[in-house]
Point group: D2
């Protein structure tokens, strides 16, 4: 499966958040999945580093003429702005894991939801990821259309258990 | 100016919400602006009807092979899915007015914000529009990047006053 | 119907070619059709002028941040480069009329053909339009897949007769 | 570098053409380049097989819900139709090698040319590739805008020599 990880591109210090990102990337690769992400810094760089350390394949869907981070197996240049690239990234994911993040991450979450991509929100990571864990409709949907279930995980291991339970059509 | 109006496509009964939509469409046209919207039902049909009644131009940005509502001057077929069409619609708006709505509307709000399009949230219209009025950063931003101001209006007249104050670059 | 007209954006002198373009735009509008084009100069400006003189609606599908010509009813900003905009324009045409042109016009011709949009090549207008009139497979196709018929016309009137014979599905 | 190879998706018999395709794919990988193509059958399958046999990385840019061929390292689902995917593929190529092909290949050739991607036409492979070798402006351009040089090669080795001479900006 291709698993997308989304989150803020801002620089990540050595921190619990950085460790979580690296661990998630590592687990995705160890489970034999391909990591897909926006290919730049912050959360994306940390998960890419983790996946590369596990010998996995990392695809960066770059917007415009962005330079990819050092851990990408392949950078795909999408040729348009980040908002559109975000939506297209969802065509290439069997599930998405969301970590912190600002409006770009929120856009990606709604794009994933509207395309019925299973979503895992990493609890305690702040930003729009955390904000979206509140007030879910029936505790698991972004709206009354109940398009696809949104799950909440606290650790990389818990996120991977959810990933492994996904039945790809 | 081209003004985008976004909101839920579900059927609107005769209601205060329907009247608000028609009035907003009417005012947009009366002020000499072009109305841009998703071109289908619900909020979009009501604002289109209002703008047409005022003799205005209404552009519907249709996704896939959707059929436009009866009040469009022109339907532009975007040829791809609604999520992408939503983002593209924002290239064609000097401001966006948001009324109620579900995840599709939330996606459009974040797409507008990320493109620095001034946003007006219609207070009291429910759904994601209303939800986004809560917890704004500094009372006016969707995130700490403070990309563009988000304003809140209660009436069509108040929304138009905000529109008229916008300086197009 | 929406009728696309394609051709070179380079400046057109007062000439038979300019007159042909204006006449084609005029006829499209007089027959009650909407003119769709790339919205900029040269062939596009001349057909837009013709259509506007006949009181018609002219849609310009602009790429990037291009400025539209003076005869557009509406400019739609596509937000990406000309090659992609060209392909999208074909989602909005029931037929395409091709006049002279360089590689951009050739790209549009193949995009139209691949989408089964009936094509009319204006004979004697030079460039890729004229080049495509040679060596048509069975005298009317761009390749052995025989996707849609390509017709050749010498005058605006002849082009309009072909347009009027098109059965929109 | 990422090298795109384009051509007809129709089934290829065991033939000199099939051998040429496999050889080109093989050489691209042996020279350390990544092969990018449309990911489906015919020419694309044969070059993918060649590159995989050489241990290379093969990216297939799939349109819609196409199934990729058996030799792809990664299939990127573009989520829209083949014409658009073709144009996007060119954002991911430092050069393009063209082999035979019909209108889809012609569209890709013009998209590459308009984006200034160096083009190598494989002589004697028929279809639009061969047709484009005729009547080049100044013997090397698709039009008077002289956007990027078009080269003609007869063998995989000759194509690779041209590839190796390309200076990536």
């Amino acid at each position: 499966m291709k698993i997308a990880v989304i989150g803020h591109s801002g620089h990540l210090e050595k921190s619990a958040l950085n460790d979580l990102c690296e661990n998630i990337g590592y687990q995705i690769a160890k489970h034999g999945h391909v990591l897909v992400n926006g290919g730049t810094g912050g959360v994306m760089e940390a998960v890419s580093r983790g996946a590369k350390n596990a010998g996995g394949i990392v695809i960066g869907m770059l917007s415009g003429h962005e330079k990819g981070n050092d851990y990408l197996t392949i950078g795909i240049e999408m040729g348009f702005d980040a908002s559109i690239s975000s939506v297209f990234m969802m065509y290439n994911a069997s599930a998405v894991i969301s970590i912190g993040g600002r409006s770009g991450t929120a856009l990606e979450l709604f794009a994933a939801y509207l395309k019925k991509i299973p979503i895992i929100l990493m609890d305690g990571t702040g930003g729009w990821t955390e904000r979206m864990t509140k007030d879910l409709v029936d505790g698991k949907y972004f709206d009354e259309n109940r398009i696809v279930e949104v799950r909440i995980a606290k650790t990389a291991e818990e996120a991977m258990r959810i990933i492994e339970s996904i039945q790809v059509p």
